[in-house]
Symmetry: C2
Subunit: 308 residues, 2 copies
């Protein structure tokens, strides 16, 4: 089979750190173009300032990976789908639930593959955690997601704007794992969002959820963590405690601890290739729906201004 000719749109940190190496390492894909108004692109690969320029005058592409901020993702995806081009959406898949639903309907109509990628679901410990939990009764879940925004999101103004999700940008990674590994659906019970006085997006959130079997979940999400960082999910069950740490990379079961190599983005691209080859889409909005519910249902408190 010919390689899938793919363009990367939005040449920011995640595109350079993860997408370029994952595409280079997968023979199913060939990098056909890059798109960014700011970035010089990659030597030897055609580069365009905007997706419209690529579509109007560039080389043919079969697929695009959208790595832009979420606020502009819908219109780019819709332009691509309108030409039957397959679309990989970085997380979160959009700025609203409605626009993602509209893209899904469009993809179904034109027969293109739409992939809402949740990279944390492909962390090494996640698949075995899901398999182990499938047999258990869940009693309690504790999610601690505390990181230093200055270290991980320096100068990313969009992340603080409406549609940028604030601290839910990393928090949605935890939610993508939890909604994948637990055997039952979860829903929000309550949320308290802390908003810096000079910002519109939350810097911290304290949330409770239930699963449909009655298990209680608590999530502590905070962007003000200095020193050691925490990306931990602890699941207490009738057969002992499971812990996923380092964002899903390390899995501890009652029988011991496993720490496998990181393969999130290579696994995402393998999945995307399979979706394209089999004519399917994969658009699970459950993590974004939980965030929307937290904004809808949560209380808000104003906290200290945040200065980058």
């Amino acid at each position: 089979m010919d390689p899938i000719r793919i363009a990367i749109v939005g040449m920011g940190k995640i595109a350079r750190d993860q997408h370029l190496p994952a595409i280079a390492g997968n023979r199913a894909f060939g990098l056909a173009a890059t798109v960014s108004p700011h970035d010089p692109g990659v030597e030897g690969v055609p580069h365009f300032a905007g997706l419209d320029d690529l579509l109007a005058s560039g080389p043919a592409v079969d697929a695009v990976a959208l790595c832009t901020p979420p606020q502009v993702r819908h219109d780019l995806a819709s332009s691509a789908l309108a030409r039957g081009i397959h679309v990989f959406l970085e997380k979160p898949p959009g700025a609203t639930l409605g626009e993602v639903a509209a893209l899904q309907a469009q993809a179904d109509k034109v027969g293109a593959s739409l992939f809402a990628a949740w990279h944390s679901r492909f962390a090494a410990g996640v698949a075995p955690a899901r398999a182990w939990l499938a047999e258990r009764t869940i009693e309690r879940v504790t999610i601690t997601w505390r990181e230093d925004v200055r270290v991980w999101h320096p100068g990313q103004a969009w992340i603080w704007e409406p549609g940028g999700l604030g601290v839910f940008d990393p928090g949605i990674n935890a939610l993508s794992i939890v909604t994948h590994i637990l055997p039952r659906p979860i829903f929000l019970r309550g949320a308290k969002l802390e908003i810096p006085a000079n910002r519109v997006a939350p810097i911290a959130a304290d949330m409770t959820f239930s699963d449909t079997g009655g298990a209680a979940l608590h999530m502590d999400l905070d962007w003000r963590q200095t020193g050691p960082q925490s990306w931990d999910i602890v699941v207490e069950t009738d057969a002992g405690t499971l812990k996923l740490s380092q964002g899903g990379a390390v899995l501890t079961l009652p029988t011991g601890t496993d720490h496998a190599e990181d393969h999130e983005y290579p696994a995402l691209y393998a999945r995307f290739a399979t979706l394209i080859r089999t004519g399917r889409s994969d658009v699970d909005v459950a993590p974004l729906r939980l965030v929307a519910d937290a904004f809808l249902r949560g209380t808000r408190v104003t906290t200290n201004p945040f200065v980058d």
Copy 2:
């Protein structure tokens, strides 16, 4: 067929004004009980302080109509569904999207009917508006929903609490109509929410949407309207302008104006009976999803305190 034995849970204004007469007027139903901690109930009908009391020691019921504030609706619905009892959810169907999805999964599992009722969709002008618009190209939609909260929601503290939606409690009626009459899905482009300094819920909102064909929608939603009230939807098309006014009761087409009798709640109960008799559910979350998207994506501005 024996009548469907139904209990009303939450004997507030909407239950007395609309649900009791609609049930009394439909031979498919028999009122078996009422439930409310505050209300004395209806003479000659068994009354209970809570749903648990009814389920533990009351007469058998086949269905419940949940007319409580949305914040407590999920747990009541889940208790009923767990016993195979059909559930009618007043609008909005819940305080979050996730809890409604969980109820839908539960209803499917137990084979009970779940009905997310959007009463404005049964206003007299809505069905003919939908039929007329099905053939048209939509160019522009203008929604003006301006009412006086002091007149329509006196003393309803829950409506200002998280999960109570504030001005979106009436606004979701407009959204339920628009998502029903337009031939294509719509999604949010932007929202500005005005929050009184002493409240957590919005008192006004200015929103823009697109449909998937590119038509532009604008919605002006306000609870501070004194004097004449406005519940109007104007749809400009390639074949002229359609106007729904008085909340959907009055339909004006290029050919003239129709104003039929109000039959929203009788139509809702006829629909609920059909769902039960045919073993189906009807749970469209599109209106609530648009509201969640407005909370997620919108900007917020603080406005004058609101005192009842």
